[in-house]
């Protein structure tokens, strides 16, 4: 109960801070539109029958875009935390009886909230702009996957931020880890185009399942095995990362 109450307390504070920054909200909305307007049209001119695009170009591209947003939108959350550590905000709160997990979860929930907002806007705008057909049931399930990814990666980002305590070290580290994860997830181009060895490597990337699942859900294929696989693998990863990061908040965030 205390965990819930404290998480809500931190969440409210963090959301209030987001709402006070109108430019930030604008940036959050404009970013996905760049992809839709500046990259999406390229796909419409792909030759018919390309492997991996059997569901339609937009129905393949937009779900991948949503997963990419989920990954990159939350991964850099740690930067804000380093600023808070420097100002002593985290230390001040750690002296109070507040739950240490709430310090993490309140922040992660803020990141997930803005992320889901972005994802919904992107999908809704894709319909008129790019002619995407929306499957509503699939959309809800996909947002659940987005939530799990957002929680997992923001927690990871916060944990690493506490360990490194420096923006200069955080950025290259996160980029080095995420580049291969992104490329191996089939976001840019479907993994169906990949040679066998690359497909095998991608099987070990939980985010590849997320992309597959999102694509299946987008065309209403709710019983596709990728859906439960994504849920299990990403869920496990999320629990691991949240616990690891929560311990960092408890021990050494100073």
């Amino acid at each position: 109960m205390k965990l819930l109450r404290d998480t809500w307390l931190i969440y409210k504070r963090q959301m209030g801070l987001v709402m006070r920054q109108p430019t930030w909200i604008f940036i959050m909305l404009i970013q996905p539109l760049y992809y839709l307007i500046l990259f999406g049209p390229l796909l419409n001119n792909l030759p018919k029958g390309m492997p991996g695009f059997s569901n339609g170009a937009m129905e393949t591209f937009v779900p991948g875009l949503v997963i990419m947003m989920a990954m990159f939108g939350t991964l850099f959350a740690g930067f804000g935390l380093i600023a808070e550590i420097r100002e002593g905000v985290i230390e001040r709160m750690r002296v109070t009886p507040v739950s240490r997990f709430a310090l993490l979860l309140g922040r992660s929930m803020r990141d997930v909230s803005t992320l889901i907002f972005q994802a919904v806007v992107l999908v809704l705008l894709s319909a008129p702009i790019a002619g995407l057909t929306i499957n509503w049931g699939g959309l809800v399930l996909m947002l659940a996957i987005v939530l799990v990814i957002g929680l997992a990666l923001s927690a990871a980002s916060y944990g690493v931020a506490i360990v490194l305590k420096s923006e200069d070290a955080l950025a290259p580290l996160l980029n080095t880890i995420t580049q291969p994860v992104l490329l191996l997830s089939g976001i840019m181009l479907p993994m169906a185009l990949a040679p066998d060895w690359l497909k095998t490597v991608a099987k070990f990337n939980p985010f590849a399942y997320a992309v597959d699942a999102a694509r299946a859900l987008f065309v209403g294929d709710l019983s596709n095995p990728a859906v439960w696989q994504a849920g299990v693998f990403l869920g496990a990863l999320m629990i691991l990362l949240v616990f690891w990061s929560g311990r960092k908040f408890a021990r050494s965030a100073s």
């Binding site: 307390l9 002593g88 905000v89 230390e91 001040r92 109070t96 021990r251």
Partner: protein, 324 residues
């Protein structure tokens, strides 16, 4: 006893080398209820580390401590309810107002919402923050921000408030203001445990203090008691060359209790510190003696013992030399 520690230790393992660094080596101290207790020492002496251990931010490597009736290591959750802590960097966020921060702080201490609001107003008035309480923190001056920091630490009426260098970086006027706030807090029933490297602050503000150096408590007591350890006066004589001869000549004098020679400064002058019973009577005699041996002092200074002399006596170094 409000705080009682026995053999409190903290060792770090440095990342590059595998060696252990002893930041705090066995601190025993007692803080009584209603006291303003000071921790005086140079930077890196272990003041902040000790304070962070006592406020549950750092886990001690060894030793025991009772804080406000609870075991620091076994009952840290209970300890947190009883204490307040203000770190060197404060802990306010620039985008929110003082009032919002105060309400939030109360909520973090599990106070009901309505009580948080009335308490915030109370604290704003008590700390004279009415003029700026509803402006964003990033617009505050250094002194205003520091006042808010201390106010945040006292929202939940803690039994003891830890202040880590509360006046470092403040202008003289803000410092004086801060001293007043600290005294007022004590009057309202909160004991204070503060660290400082300012001698005048320790002298003027603290009821009792401990001098810490290299992770160990060197001596402790009231400022008056500590200064009394150095009975009599101190005569500091600058001698350019033949410092050894000078101290040989002066040491046997019956009014001289002790002679200490410092390190030569950049001009080669050595300061001899003479601990004497009665300074004003000793000075003419000293000058005569040196004159008779053809030694011309470059400077001579007579002063009553200060806390810096206590520190110097105990550690062989001056706190004033600690520029940072």
């Amino acid at each position: 006893m409000l705080i009682e520690t026995a053999g409190l230790r903290k060792t770090y393992r440095s990342r590059q080398k595998k060696e252990e660094v002893e930041a705090v080596r066995g601190v025993d101290l007692v803080v009584k209820e209603g006291e303003i207790f000071g921790f005086l020492g140079p930077n890196g002496a272990g003041k902040t580390t000790t304070l962070r251990m006592l406020s549950t931010l750092l886990e001690p490597s060894g030793g025991t401590a009772m804080v406000a009736g609870f075991d620091l290591r076994k009952q840290s959750a209970e300890v947190r309810h009883q204490i307040g802590y203000v770190g060197q960097s404060g802990g306010t966020w620039g985008e929110v107002t003082a009032r919002e921060e105060l309400v939030m702080q109360g909520r973090l201490y599990e106070m009901p919402k309505s009580e948080c609001k009335t308490r915030a107003q109370e604290v704003i008035e008590a700390f004279e923050m009415t003029d700026f309480a509803d402006r964003k923190c990033k617009t505050y001056s250094g002194g205003q921000r520091r006042r808010l920091d201390v106010a945040l630490g006292s929202v939940h009426r803690p039994k003891v408030l830890f202040l880590d260098e509360p006046t470092t970086g403040l202008d003289p006027q803000s410092r004086a203001h801060m001293w007043e706030e600290v005294r007022k807090l004590r009057e309202r029933g909160t004991s204070i445990f503060l660290t400082t490297h300012y001698l005048d602050e320790a002298d003027a503000l603290c009821d009792r203090l401990a001098i810490i150096d290299n992770g160990e408590i060197v001596t402790e007591g009231t400022p008056i008691d500590l200064k009394r350890q150095i009975a009599g006066d101190i005569v500091a004589i600058g001698v350019n060359g033949r410092a050894d001869d000078a101290s040989e000549l002066l040491r046997p004098k019956e009014f001289v209790r002790e002679v200490e020679a410092g390190e030569p400064d950049t001009t080669g002058a050595v300061t001899l510190r003479l601990y004497v019973d009665d300074g004003s009577a000793a000075v003419p005699d000293i000058l005569r003696t040196l004159d008779g041996a053809d030694i011309a002092p470059s400077s001579i200074e007579l002063h009553r013992p200060s806390l810096d002399d206590v520190f110097l006596k105990q550690t062989g170094r001056s706190l004033r030399e600690d520029k940072s």
